[in-house]
């Protein structure tokens, strides 16, 4: 699936980094989300879905491989 983040919405809570460290990172200067990779394979799919559910600011979006949300 494709993964997108909205840094304007992000409040730096770090739930994404805890859930899917292979995909998400946080900037050391402003604490906001950074993408390590914009695409998540099946191995980390569950982790990314958890990150979407836990993100308190609705800042993560995913789109499955067929292109629909």
């Amino acid at each position: 699936m494709r993964v997108g983040v909205d840094r304007d919405r992000c409040c730096g809570a770090g739930q994404c980094v805890m859930s899917a460290p292979a995909v998400f990172d946080q900037s050391e200067s402003d604490g906001l989300v950074l993408l390590r990779q914009g695409w998540a394979g099946s191995a980390v799919r569950g982790d990314v879905e958890l990150a979407v559910a836990l993100c308190p600011a609705n800042a993560i979006s995913v789109e499955d491989d067929a292109g629909k949300a």
């Binding site: 409040c11 730096g12 809570a13 770090g14 739930q15 980094v17 805890m18 859930s19 946080q26 900037s27 050391e28 200067s29 402003d30 604490g31 906001l32 958890l50 559910a53 836990l54 308190p56 600011a57 609705n58």
Partner: protein, 401 residues
Amino acid sequence: MTGTHTDESTVTLPAARGACPFAPPPAYGEARRRSPVSPMSLWDGTAVWLVTGHQQMRTVLLDKRFSADARVPGFPFLSPGRKQLLTKATPSFLRLDDPEHSRLRRMLTGDFIVKRAEAQRPQIQRIVDEVLDRMTGHGSPADLVRDFALQVPSRVICLLLGVPYADHQFFESQTSALVDLSTPPEEIKAAMAELTGYLTRLAERKRREPDDSLLGRLVARGELDEAECAAMGMVLLVAGHETTANMIALGTLALLRHPEQMARLRAEPSLMKGAVEELMRYLSVVHFGLPRAALEDVEIDGTLIRAGEGVLCMLSEANRDEALFQDPERLDITRDARRHLAFGFGVHQCIGQPLARAEMQIALETLLRRLPGLRLAVPYEELEYRTDKAVYGVRELPVTW
């Protein structure tokens, strides 16, 4: 202002707890089973909405039409003292809305990233070991609240802010006056003034003598005036001290009351991360409900909340919502509890959570490892609880080992 609900099922807050000290007041669960958004009234008769469903709470806390600003009409106050405290001239970002909230919060987010909390583990471990050395050095019994649980987060926050250790005692007495709902308004005001004055002087000192502490770096940014710097220090102290302390103490008690799970955790320390999430869910120590006020009319799950009405998001109930947690009244350190809302939700979700998690994991792991004979020094039935405080917990926890 709003009137009072006429519905006879109205719940008055704070409702009394039942027989189990770990469970929230039964009236909140009954309200949740009736409706995830239900009417209730406050100490002064003001009508507010009690939000108890997990999904509904996420919706409310994500919606910018609900304000966290205490100066907004309809904002629910939990006592006369809290009203005084929260309507002061310079609110911290906890009680501001975006964009002002996010401007201030983002000055700190870099200090609270997951990586930094992970890097601070050795320092936290050292603090925990020192505090435990001192406690055991005095011999048993000890009060685990005073001699351990309150010491650890206090020292961690002071380290973070760059508060000299000599001033820690002063901090503990002032911050406990602030969160005590029975403290008269004048005393709350006095404690606020003492702490704000101290932090303002500390900020001035760090402006002259820069250091690498959170407060030192905040001052060095040059974006904040003195009052804002003091407000930042205040919110970190108040928000991070008694919350973490009560989770450590009440968490220890919960494990002592579930000896088979405590034994399992001792044998398999790798379960600690998940166990802390479950303890957060099960205990939900921020127990009076997160306050918000509607800026516009909003419909939540079929209930119309009008502009100028208050809501209280009862975290303990979202954390017992059967839609998410099977058999929610049971402590189970092996369940996946990560969707709990004990740190809140939305843009105000706890900024200190990576640090709080590291503190709780290290404190509990160290206690279990170093004190294999840890047990209560008084009958369980004699323990008293912080039912009247903004952060729930056990008042004293006499233990031996």
